[in-house]
Amino acid sequence: MMPSVTIELPSVLAPVVNGERSFTVNAETLPGALAALFEIQPGLKVHLFDETESFREHVLCFHNQTNTRWMDSMDVPLQDGDTITILQAVSGG
């Protein structure tokens, strides 16, 4: 059985996903979890990823408490109950 993880989204993306703020998916890795999210919410992909299939410049992704930008690889194994959080970067003031 693949780990069950929660993906949390910022409120401004709610119109894209019928007002939902979090989704539960089953996946072994972070990319797998995002792929599973895009499978059930295909409209999200264009808002999180740019034309190079990387996270948009001002979109942050945390695996539990770790910013994925500081990871050597996104290909980390997930554990049951993990949380993936999408955030808008605090850019400017």
Binding site: V12, P15, P42, G43, V46, D50, E51, R56, V59, Q88
Partner: protein
């Protein structure tokens, strides 16, 4: 019968409604709250399309049958990965004549032949031989103006800033710059037929060859489908401005001049719309009900529209978030009782 307008702002879309006497308006809570609503349109089937954009989350296109339930179009305009080009926003939609078009930033044109479900790039324009000389204006490198000949859908005009106007006569297979008579703003070493800063286009509803062109350097008209352009500025106080709209029933044209490209605000703090009732031969200022002192807000290129009723309603939104409406073809104006975010686009649907 009601009049419905979509006021697209930097932080959402606001739907305003009235009956056709247009004396009292209701204003809905924001749609797509937090998102730019960059343009909207309705197709021949009565469906509404709204383009949204976010500096963080990018652009998208949405469709609705009733202005309440919206669905994001999954296969909307998007640049192929290999082209190293970003889609920043959808600037304009043309949803008539079977083939739908969307003009975007970074500049390019997309089309849909299945009612807007899937979109593909118009390569003959997007990869035009002059592309290497295309340079952005202050608002970006954007394809923001589209005209389609209602009697011949193979004839299409596309305005790109700061590149110029292109015309196709063969349904988009070939495109030719149409800027003769327009002052150039950016001269390229090799491609001398681009480098023009078109701000807006409208066409006579029954004569597609008569086109009115709001340009960085003035107001122009063509009688031959864009082959040649002439200045039509008699009565205009300044040559600079962005929006242009037409009451198609009477062919009355409305523009909003600003002091200059340096200042981009109304001259002397007087907010004025100008009207032409003679095909651009002359222009008169409209001031009754518009702020005539200390008014320094701008009007962006998409923020002026007409409702095509009799008498004509005119709607203009400002960068200060104020919206002014005239129900007598511009003779008098009232302000909508709201202060919105910066208004990006105004689209009126008069039989919703």
């Amino acid at each position: 019968m009601t009049v419905t307008a979509m006021l697209g702002t930097a932080k959402g879309g606001f739907i305003v409604r009235s009956n056709t006497d247009r004396s009292a308006w209701t204003i809905d809570e924001p749609l797509f709250k937090g998102w730019k609503v960059t343009t909207s349109a309705r197709d021949d089937k009565g469906r509404y399309f709204v383009a949204t954009a976010s500096d963080v989350y990018g652009p998208a296109l949405h469709v609705s049958d009733d202005l309440k339930q919206w669905k994001q179009i999954e296969k909307g305009p998007s640049w192929p990965k290999r082209r190293d080009r970003k889609l920043n926003q959808i600037w304009t939609l043309h949803l008539r004549s079977g083939r739908y078009y969307a003009g975007v930033d970074e500049a390019g044109l997309f089309m849909s032949d299945d009612g807007g479900e899937t979109w593909s790039p118009v390569d003959a324009l997007n990869e035009h031989a002059t592309r290497s000389a295309w340079a952005p204006g202050a608002g970006g490198l954007c394809a923001h103006a589209l005209l389609v000949d209602p009697s011949n859908p193979d004839r299409v005009w596309c305005g790109i800033s700061a590149v110029g106007v292109f015309r196709t006569e063969d349904g988009g297979r070939t495109w030719h710059p149409k800027n003769q008579g327009i002052p150039q703003v950016l001269e390229d070493k090799d491609h001398k037929d681009v480098g023009y800063c078109v701000h807006g286009l409208i066409a006579d509803p029954e004569d597609a060859n008569t086109i009115y062109r709001r340009e960085h350097n003035g107001m122009f008209r063509s009688r031959d489908g864009g082959d040649h352009w002439e200045r039509i500025e008699n009565g205009l106080p300044n040559w600079f401005g962005f929006p242009i709209a037409m009451d198609r029933r009477t062919r009355t044209i409305f523009v909003h001049p600003m002091e200059s490209d340096e200042y981009r605000m109304p001259a002397d703090g007087k907010f004025r719309v100008y009207r032409s009732r003679d095909g651009g031969d002359s222009w008169e200022p409209l001031t009754n009900g518009l702020p005539q002192q200390h008014a320094y807000m701008g009007v962006l290129r998409g923020a002026l529209d007409c409702d095509q009723l009799d008498p004509c309603g005119v709607y203009i939104g400002t960068t200060a978030g104020t919206v002014y409406i005239s129900t007598d073809a511009g003779d008098s104006w009232t302000q909508l009782p709201c202060t919105l975010p910066r208004v990006l686009s105004v689209t009126v649907f008069n039989d919703a």
